[in-house]
Symmetry: C2
Subunit: 346 residues, 2 copies
Amino acid sequence: MAPVTNGRLLFTEIPTGYPEPGKTTIYDTLQTIDLENVPLNGGVLIKTLVLSSDPYLRGRMRDAKIKTYSVAFQLGEPIDNHGVGVVLRSEDPTFKPGDHVFSWKLPFQHYSVFNGQDLGALRVLPNEEKLPWSTYIGVCGMPGKTAYMGWTEYAHPKKGEVAFVTSGSGPVGGTVIQLAKADGLKVIASAGSDKKVAYLRELGADVAFNYKTVPVSKVLQNEGPIDIYWDNVGGESFEAAIATANRRARFIECGTISEYNNETPYPVKNLKLILYKELQISGFIVTGLYAKYDEQFYKEIPKRVASGEIKYSEDFTEGLENAGQAILDVQLGKNNGKKIIRVAGE
Amino acid sequence: MAPVTNGRLLFTEIPTGYPEPGKTTIYDTLQTIDLENVPLNGGVLIKTLVLSSDPYLRGRMRDAKIKTYSVAFQLGEPIDNHGVGVVLRSEDPTFKPGDHVFSWKLPFQHYSVFNGQDLGALRVLPNEEKLPWSTYIGVCGMPGKTAYMGWTEYAHPKKGEVAFVTSGSGPVGGTVIQLAKADGLKVIASAGSDKKVAYLRELGADVAFNYKTVPVSKVLQNEGPIDIYWDNVGGESFEAAIATANRRARFIECGTISEYNNETPYPVKNLKLILYKELQISGFIVTGLYAKYDEQFYKEIPKRVASGEIKYSEDFTEGLENAGQAILDVQLGKNNGKKIIRVAGE
């Protein structure tokens, strides 16, 4: 069989504000791949099915000289992220053609070779629950892990307490809302459109509001004080949460979307209340909790999703050529639920 | 015996900036007390020996309508704080004349009656180590407890890590430096005068500097990154600590002296690093830890002080009439070591 085009989404320019499709990233079709003969070096050939667009990707679009918790994208190379693919060929007994695999560093391209020494980045998905493969990069993937592991490690919920969850319609916040309700909490949740707010109510939020039309501080004053703050936002929302926190409230710092695309951070003015209120603030990156919780996560969450106990919502972008837009949409909060880039069918 | 004057330090005006002796507080000599006949209602009569001037007192000089972690002072009434006195008369078998007692709410007056129902505010000090009574409001009192309990609960030190301790020459910071050294850490400590800096070195600090002449951020860049930040200061120092923190550093928020006398808080600009660096930030008020640690504290710390293992420094103000100045001095950082107000001899 003749070589086929291997379309790729390349990282082409470091953005200063929001990432721009066609500028920050360019969809490139110059590369070809011979699927039958490309050398595997003891590894596997993967056909990409779905890729994830997550808020944290913005942080990887930086000068590689700047070190943070995440690996910077390389200019001129395809970006990568969580994805699910299917094995086309394999030289390793762990992986068989037709196996579906999850990877936390799947390149944004149609076909990828993982050499023998890189197979640690792949995990075969048994998927006994027959869930859509896309869930393994959403509610059963990194976002779901973020919610489950962060909540389990840091929330210390007590029945009857009040939790405030930001970005509640995203895959992290949406799962947190449901975990908090399952723990018997009153849940206040925010999102950025009326449609999303309706979804927050479907998920069980007791109080749901559109932060673009109602001030966060006002809602928290009326519905708080809060005992747990799940922060996906930072900035002004963080300040409002501090102002209305109960003594010994737990703050789980999971994201700061308000600052990802903004050079000037919001100046939080009430930090002394961290002391006065004895707040416990935990910044966390989910990868640091994988070793502790991965096994129980895969044992528990896919079952709870399959049974319908944990709901989720996905928002598909069709085609890798539109992945740049899918990345921007998530930064702008234009997605409704977990943003999935569908690269190919089975 | 005729009634004697019972001098008192009254809270007379809510300050907007620093508290002013003679304005914020006034020493009043109009009240008399008949030491032999004043009714005790099942309680005790105490002669005040020493009183404590602590940074947190500024927070109590507020409108009583504003609720915080501490009780506001009442206008027209004597202020109160930690102190040690001697029992002159008693109608309760727990207390005998001549006993020395600690109280966490001893009024700033020469003589005080604690009625029977108020005796929970007094604790007989056996003082088997024959330490100066003043230590029970310093290294063996609330400041020592703050250091010991906060460190034990939140620091999670690992040998070879780096700790940064602010207000290192005060009774809290000074004790923390020694606890950190005992745990095998490299200790960076700051204070506000060259004399204090010399004292930090005596306590064992590996790096000691005067924050008024050397920028905190520069020292931390050279000597960090830091794993533990003991914050008595807040504001710019907090920001510098965030900037130079290691992954998973622990921040212990114990005081914010930079903001107590200042209406405009310093705008911390790098809060997103709480997430990126997975910082664990714990605000705490020591009273919340008393139940857990009081017993082990009194068993352990007076012995370590008596043996000379834990050093301390005290700075005396003579006379209750000078207590207003002693309060201001602590807010200005003019004390060298724990500020003690000596009200009377035995």
